[in-house]
Symmetry: C2
Subunit: 335 residues, 2 copies
């Protein structure tokens, strides 16, 4: 077997997602070499207050940490030798920063971009597609929607010759966990939310989840990328789950339905998030914190994908698929 | 917009699948041009007793038929100008013919190959992968497993950096329809089978379906292509649904289960098809004639895809995704 080709990653952000990607590159080292002829290494990491670079690849220490070389400026990271930039800093849905600035710099440097951070594509989809084109490099963001559940790549590859008319989904694991507990345990919303927080499914401030904003941001991405719409957070009709009562859930159950927070976008321009009755046992009736994405297409009819929508490994899986895709498209990995 | 690039298809077989592909190329003409910069035309069709060729693309007549130009030899078809060969003749699981011979000829002519016909990859997977490599052209066969439900392309692209440990699925729509009717209507096997035949879900001779052989052939393909196994029809442990009684289905139902014909292959070498109890409402509990494919991977955990496993349009959707992929890989379509 020929020597695998080096493929260097610059990473911004080193929280759960960044660390999971770093670990996944170790566990998948052999797979990446044999399946794709790739030797993927992280040659630079930037956090808000620290950077680390190593042209031979930054090793994971035994405790899973990185040897930070200096308190430094993010700017220095761009000097590292790299083939792709992975943006995994915290999401901001208002101005997309700091991720948006990082992505602009990456394109300025003609680096392909892979996003875990939704902010940049939610706030500036058209601009970033344009910048990627100008730079002549790919932009990928599978990890921003439904974690490892194939959504954007599925459309790119599995439905390549088909026309997607509508995308619906259970795109927020926190609210799905809450609604599942309300249906299965007869909890009320507050109880279920506290349980979700105790189990780590919900943030201390759960507003973005239960108000439907997180799901709406994913509708913006799916609508723009798969349906050619021109959505922003302001053009999505959003209702969260705060008005969903235990009684409503029970009544739905009596009639064979589940209450689910369904996010949807159609080619006709419809884009909304809100509680909907879903027939029990139907493909959108996924339990717990699972996500689901349902495509309605011209030829294939209805196809649904379900799986873990969040978590470090699930997100790392999506990032790795994008990294391999970038390596293929740029001619480094085998086709 | 630049002129779309011509991409010519040679097609063997003109039954439901071949005709559906021909129609789909008409309905998707604009999509293929705008999304992929492609102008896909069928320049040659071969049936067992007729051929038709047209260097400008064979038009569909108003009644959906083709103007057969001559009673002729299959051999003549290879003289047509083509960029990809699509094999859609009837499946033979014993010797793979006539498809296997066609595919060998295509590779001999250095033509990329897209299969709707399972026979060749079930009978001669290693040989065909080898021939494709020697010819330096791609081999794709998404349509052979679960119709338009992403299975092989999903693995190639969506789980590219991940390691698939196990694949399970509901891969035969006929038996799923029968088992669903037995569970929902309390029918016995014979009643449900007659109903399936009346509705066109089952063949007049349903042996390959109800004995589990069709599902087994798909396990061979998934196991070899996704798990690196070396399976043949003889090494898959197969049990069909002929022994599944109405009483067994009812008993399962009383305990919250469905009886499903589950096909599975694992990286450890396990490969089998047989009736299994599946928790009601779980991701493999798909109703009617639907198919499901469930991947268990190193990073993503469990991801399930469900949708139509058969039918002309569903198969055409899968063929088109492969045709576009071939055009990308060979540098004709935009990436």
């Amino acid at each position: 077997m020929p020597e695998p080709a080096r493929f260097n990653v610059l990473l911004a952000g080193y929280g759960t997602v960044g660390r999971s990607l770093h670990r996944a590159l170790e566990t998948q080292r052999e797979h990446l070499a044999t399946a794709h002829g790739l030797d993927v290494r992280i040659t630079g990491i930037a956090r808000s207050d620290r950077v680390a670079t190593d042209p031979d690849g930054l090793p994971l220490k035994d405790d899973g940490s990185v040897r930070w070389q200096r308190g430094g400026l993010l700017d220095e990271i761009w000097e590292a030798e790299a083939d792709v930039f992975v943006e995994a800093t915290p999401t901001d849905l208002e101005d997309g920063q700091p991720g948006l600035g990082h992505v602009r710099t990456a394109f300025h440097n003609e680096l392909p971009v892979v996003l875990a951070n939704k902010g940049p594509v939610v706030v500036a989809y058209d601009e970033l597609v344009q910048r990627a084109q100008t730079a002549g490099v790919p932009l990928r963001f599978e990890a921003t929607v439904a974690g490892c559940v194939p959504s954007l790549n599925a459309a790119r590859y599995s439905f390549a010759g088909d026309t997607i008319h509508k995308v619906e989904g259970i795109l927020n694991g926190t609210t799905n966990f809450i609604l599942t507990r309300m249906a299965e345990e007869g909890s009320d919303l507050d109880q279920a939310l506290r349980e979700a927080q105790a189990l780590g499914y919900a943030e201390t401030d759960p507003t973005a989840d239960i108000e439907g904003l997180d799901a709406a941001s994913k509708v913006v991405i799916l609508g723009n990328a798969l349906l050619g719409l021109d959505l922003t957070m302001d053009t999505v009709e959003v209702q969260g789950i705060t008005q969903v009562t235990r009684q409503a859930v029970e009544l739905a159950d009596d009639h064979g339905f589940r209450v689910k927070l369904v996010a949807e976008a159609s080619r006709d321009g419809t884009a909304r998030v809100g509680p909907r009755l879903v027939p029990r046992g139907s493909t959108l009736d996924v339990p717990g914190a699972l996500n689901a994405v349902r495509f309605t297409t011209q030829l294939a009819g209805t196809v649904t994908h379900t799986g873990a929508g969040a978590g470090g490994n699930a997100t790392a899986a999506a990032l790795l698929s994008d990294i391999v895709d970038v390596a293929r498209v740029t001619g480094v990995a085998d086709r």
